[in-house]
């Protein structure tokens, strides 16, 4: 059974067509990355899945039920949500905030301390949230989202304000949750950190689905070139490579299709003038840029 199922979902706000014919099916244990520019419909999608808003057309199902329906009540116990920019209650301590949310969710109080420990906040548990840094608030939000071992976790910009180590820790705990069978939807602008951890990416543009698939599939679909930077002086490339190359100060920049990568590398390795090679595979960033520019060009036409 799919955990989340969106079929032909449309969402209109007063003047804005926020989502257009979105289809999405998410299986248990999957980590989905949701990407797109500001206003692409990421938050709208998350709100629909949370049952905070109802679709204008189409159907949303979470655990096989309508998240905005009458039965949504018990459904929400299995959800965890962390939104962008939550500042919580400034006057309360971190522990009090988590305890309050635990009570509302009907969780065991013991969990609060453990979760604060897990997100690395136990030293600040008795301090007021007012004194927390942005990263600490983000961790507090994460602890809150993890209350009650949610089966479905929705995280909107979870790593904003986290330092690199905390980001690393964060993605590790996500991987752990996945191992326990949780399903995760992740919204982020920081594509570079995310790509290792997601099973599937969904790219939205102006409420439309631009691309969907695993990183490998997306690489195939886009057929973006592999970039090679070859360091050295007086390099003479074989004839068939010369038209793909641009000469730069410190060497030669070369772009070849992924299929030709190995053959090209072998040829370059034969050249004695070559000092060093940098290899750059198309990253999620590149794929994202590709779809976005593609989309913008179509819009302008």
């Amino acid at each position: 059974m799919s955990i989340v199922e969106l079929s032909n979902v449309e969402k209109h706000y007063q003047n804005v067509h926020a989502l257009k014919q979105l289809n999405l099916s998410l299986n248990q244990g999957e980590i989905l990355g949701l990407f797109g520019h500001n206003g692409a419909g990421k938050t709208t999608t998350i709100k629909l899945i949370l049952g905070l808003i109802k679709p204008s057309a189409g159907q949303v199902q979470v655990f096989g039920e309508d998240p905005a329906g009458d039965n949504a009540y018990h459904l929400r116990r299995q959800l965890g949500f962390l939104q962008e920019n939550v500042s919580f209650y400034q006057q309360l301590t971190g522990l009090e905030v988590v305890s309050y949310f635990a009570k509302l969710k009907g969780c065991d109080k013991k969990q609060c301390g453990e979760l604060l420990e897990q997100v690395g906040l136990s030293h600040a548990a008795k301090r007021r949230v007012k004194t927390y840094s942005k990263g600490m608030r983000q961790r507090l939000g994460l602890a809150q989202a993890l209350l009650g071992e949610p089966k479905l976790l929705l995280l909107d910009e979870p790593t904003v304000g986290l330092d690199p180590i905390a980001t690393q820790d964060f993605y590790q705990s996500i991987a752990q949750l996945k191992a326990q069978g949780s399903t995760v939807i992740l919204c982020s602008h920081m594509l570079a950190g995310v790509e290792k951890y997601i099973d599937r990416a969904l790219i939205l543009g102006q409420g439309k689905l631009l691309a969907e698939g695993s990183l490998k599939q997306l690489r195939q679909q886009t057929d973006l070139p592999v970039s090679l930077h070859i360091y050295g002086s007086n390099i003479t490339l074989p004839k068939q490579l010369q038209d793909k190359a641009t000469t730069q100060d410190d060497g030669i920049h070369l772009q070849v299709s992924p299929q030709q990568k190995m053959a090209t590398l072998r040829q370059i390795m034969m050249l004695s003038e070559v000092d060093n090679i940098d290899l750059h595979m198309p990253s999620l960033d590149d794929i994202y840029m590709h779809y976005m520019t593609d989309f913008q060009q179509k819009e302008h036409r």
Binding site: G51, Q83, S87, Q91
Partner: protein, 275 residues
């Protein structure tokens, strides 16, 4: 039901923590004790005056201060959570909208009730201990009645604050509207009625005109307190009520209606609020 109490409990503890409870109690205690002791200062004497005159003058001061405190206490109840981002978060919890707003209101009502009882209760004890003219038994009935009415008045304005908070999108706007509402109910309303009387040279329907007072909860509160003490004359502006002879149950019932209406309105507005 559990969820409502969890929210109310948090709200009440916030009130304790922010010193709202202490501040309100102190204001009420000082106000009541001060009025009891210095109430007769205008006639050239200090010392405890009669209970009825104390409570009636306290009532006319309370109609200024209670609505102000109640509005300040609760104007950001909904919009503040929205700006914090916690409103959106709370709505993803197993908690329905009406439970959240009723829980929060309940918490604020408890703050108001608790501080009113503490504040005025303290002043009652002081008066009973130090005044020669007023005994405990005399004090208990009228003071309890006054406290109950004061609590209800506070609750009404808390509910009105929730109506304001549920329909605006910014905290500062809520504060502005709360101030305007206070100004209208506490100052403008009576002045306009008075203006109407003067401009028509008293040529109004004497039967109907007093009923206009029921459109303002602060006036109802004053009439209730004055009416409770038979020896107190309806003086000044309140004297326009003397033609109508409002009974205490009727006045109390109108106050209850004034309470229920904004509560229901706040719930329905909050249900329609966009997240």
């Amino acid at each position: 039901m559990q969820a409502i109490f969890t929210v109310a409990n948090k709200e009440f503890h916030d009130g304790l923590r922010n010193r709202w409870v202490v501040a309100i109690s102190l204001i009420f205690a000082l106000l009541a004790t001060g009025l009891a002791y210095f109430g007769a200062a205008a006639s050239g004497q200090a010392g405890f005056t009669t209970l009825s005159s104390t409570l009636v003058s306290l009532a006319s001061l309370a109609v200024f201060i209670i609505p102000l405190i109640a509005l300040m206490l609760a104007y950001d109840a909904v919009v503040g959570e929205d700006e914090n981002g916690t409103l959106l978060l709370l709505m993803t919890y197993p908690l329905s909208r009406w439970q959240l707003i009723v829980g929060k209101m309940l918490g604020h009502w408890l703050i108001m009730a608790f501080s009113t009882i503490c504040g005025f209760g303290l002043s009652a004890i002081i008066i009973a201990v130090f005044s020669d003219t007023t005994s405990w038994s005399e004090l208990l009935g009228p003071y309890s009645f006054f406290i109950i009415c004061a609590i209800l008045l506070g609750w009404i304005f808390i509910a009105i604050a929730y109506v304001i908070s549920a329909c605006v999108s910014e905290k500062s706007k809520a504060a502005g509207i709360a101030l305007i509402v206070w100004f209208i109910f506490v100052l403008m309303f009576d002045l306009s009625l008075l203006g109407l009387l003067v401009s028509t040279e008293g040529n109004v329907n004497a039967q109907l005109f007093p009923y206009l007072l029921l459109l303002n909860p602060t006036d109802i509160f004053r009439l209730l307190i004055i009416g409770f003490f038979a020896d107190q004359q309806l003086s000044g502006f309140m004297s326009i009520a003397q033609y109508a002879h409002f009974s205490t149950p009727l006045l109390f019932a109108s106050l209850v209606i004034w309470f229920i209406t904004p509560v229901l309105l706040a719930i329905s507005l909050f249900n329609k609020r966009k997240l």
